[in-house]
Symmetry: C2
Subunit: 140 residues, 2 copies
């Protein structure tokens, strides 16, 4: 994705456009595999060697607040970020930190229909996502 397109996203959310913000959002989208703040810093420093980690954290916060990115739930105390904001599922590898996206409209419709029928008392569902946990099989 090019800088022009990224700027547009920031402007739409009324965020001031800065080189750092462009670089960070671009990094998350390009890296694609639910990077940590550290992954993002490492990636950005190739082209932008003076960026501060504090800036990265502050920008990540701003991007989450304006819903340009999302946090990913994990059972580790390292935060991970997702550049795909449309609702989708996640495949968690049970013996590494790999997290992959899983999109499946048939499944989404199945779930939607199921929860239309079967309501949770006193609860308004906003989003449903699957954690699919397992192992990738080595293929020769």
């Amino acid at each position: 994705m090019k800088a022009e397109e990224i700027s547009r996203k920031l402007i739409d959310k009324k965020l001031k456009v800065t080189p750092q913000r462009i670089a960070i959002l671009e990094a998350i989208i390009n890296l694609n595999n639910h990077p940590t703040a550290e992954n993002i810093v490492e990636y950005i420093r190739k082209n932008h060697p003076n960026i501060s980690v504090a800036t990265v954290y502050k920008v990540l916060d701003a991007l989450v607040d304006s819903r340009l990115i999302k946090k990913v739930k994990t059972e580790r105390d390292i935060m991970r970020y997702d550049g795909v904001v449309e609702s989708h599922h996640h495949i968690y590898c049970s013996d590494s930190d790999r997290i992959e996206d899983f999109n499946d409209n048939e499944l989404n419709e199945l779930l939607e229909k199921y929860f239309e029928k079967k309501k949770i008392p006193d609860f308004k569902i906003e989003d449903i996502k699957l954690q699919i946990i397992g192992k990738y099989i080595k293929t020769k």
Copy 2:
């Protein structure tokens, strides 16, 4: 749950039975709502005022390793623990840290059938759980 029953669980997993381990496992099971290490310390100190937080963390680790408890995925950097080890789903409140269990066999069967039919290439599924995100509606 009584101490006798908790001891049995520890013995079954070949863990040395100590008052601290009994208290910690009992706390997680009794608190029931996916407590943090801090919640557990606070709860235990009522009856067991000298327990060290380091011990709590070490015991939690041991209990996770032997699968007497589980970690819960969140998007915060505070770990939460689950005394319910049978596979189940979670309802995450979108404006608080409340996490509730959600059990539904009809849904489980639906999902199981679905993924029997629709395999994920090169991936062996071990567990599937839903994150149901939304809000509890205040009822008068």
